[in-house]
């Protein structure tokens, strides 16, 4: 989904180019575009509450460090923020959650990686081991993100895309995509073990980890519907792991469970 960001500030421009370098493209006609107006707003506080509301056909996103307005129909919007990368990063995350909600996808608070042509998604609360597992990734695995996984509905199932939204690794993912093989809920434990999760548990876990900032009824309903549809089509496991690289060996085990089922 190509989004055009427009700024008249050369320093901010190069900051954006650097941050999103692997995700830049030259679409003659972007689907969405934002004019970024730089102001002296306060420092970005990623833990501050975001307020996302609908005002007529427009969406308004507000946090201490930014204010954005966006009309999804025309695709145009404006962002007022100071020259920092965190505010625009948050605005882009919000925009993508709204866009994905319309088409049955979502952003998931999760790390993801591609191995053997298939994407594996690792979710869990902060500190559960997403960054650790990302660091332990074997050489033949390509990291899509260590923090925010991008899930889109495709014709045959679901596809995970790389994102520039990084967590503790402070490193953007690779700009590639692959069909999703499975989702794992990370839990630290004394041994490496996989436990299949049933659909209800999968939906509950997804709902706790899907990013959505708008609490209007229509968005909540569509995110819930997306989570139910995803849970019906993609297997989910509780991955109890010891924080060693052997955890990656369990992905093969998940495949065997699938084949036996």
């Amino acid at each position: 989904m190509p989004i055009l960001l427009r700024t008249t500030d050369a320093v901010f421009y190069s900051l954006l180019v650097q941050r999103y370098q692997d995700f830049l493209s030259s679409f003659a006609q972007p689907q969405f575009e934002f004019d970024v107006e730089l102001t002296d707003t306060p420092e970005a506080d990623p833990d501050a509450d975001v307020c996302v509301t609908r005002a007529g056909s427009d969406w308004q996103f507000r946090r201490g460090d930014f204010f954005a307005q966006w009309d999804p129909e025309s695709g145009r919007g404006t962002v007022r923020q100071s020259a920092n990368p965190y505010s625009i990063d948050s605005v882009l995350r919000i925009v993508h959650t709204l866009l994905l909600a319309r088409e049955g996808g979502f952003l998931l608070h999760a790390a993801s990686a591609v191995r053997d042509g298939e994407a594996h998604i690792f979710t869990g609360r902060s500190g559960a081991g997403k960054t650790t597992l990302s660091r332990l990734a074997p050489p033949d695995a390509t990291l899509l993100t260590d923090e925010v996984s991008y899930v889109r509905k495709s014709e045959s199932g679901y596809t995970a895309y790389g994102t520039p939204f990084a967590g503790e690794l402070a490193k953007a993912g690779e700009n590639i995509s692959a069909p999703i093989a499975a989702v794992y809920l990370l839990v630290q434990g004394p041994e490496n073990r996989l436990e299949p999760m049933d659909e209800a548990e999968t939906v509950r876990t997804l709902m706790r980890n899907i990013l959505f900032f708008a609490n209007d009824e229509a968005t909540v309903q569509s995110v819930f519907k997306s989570a139910c549809a995803f849970a019906a089509g993609v297997p989910m496991y509780r991955m109890i792991f010891t924080r060693s690289s052997e955890a990656w060996g369990m992905i093969g085990a998940a495949k065997q469970i699938e084949m036996m089922a």
Binding site: E199, A200, V203, R204, M207, V220, F224, C228
Partner: protein, 102 residues
């Protein structure tokens, strides 16, 4: 409480998954999983039936439980869900209840 009418709020999203009903409030994004008894009450909460009638005809007939015990649990259940705006409670029948149960 027992002679009150209960209805599913239209401001929720719900889905039956296996034996459980997963319900989410659109108002505060709280998430609930209802067990089989809770699901039976939930599915009967059409705004036209009193809680007492639901307990007598749905809960006690489907599950081996005394009416007194079932009523006490049902009242607690309804109180909890109504606090999150997931169930509506009224002393008159509640019209046009939907609820998105599928």
């Amino acid at each position: 409480m027992s002679d009150r009418y209960i209805a599913r709020s239209p401001r929720i999203a719900a889905r039956k998954l296996g034996d459980e009903m997963v319900v989410m409030s659109a108002a505060d994004s709280s998430l609930f999983t209802l067990n089989e008894v809770g699901t039976a009450i939930w599915q009967s909460a059409d705004g036209r039936t009193t809680l007492q009638s639901i307990v007598a005809h749905q809960v006690c007939q489907q599950f081996e439980v005394s009416e007194a015990d079932a009523m006490r649990d049902a009242e607690e259940f309804v109180t909890q869900l109504s606090r999150h705006g997931i169930l509506l409670v009224s002393d008159k029948p509640i019209e046009s209840s939907s609820g998105g149960t599928r």
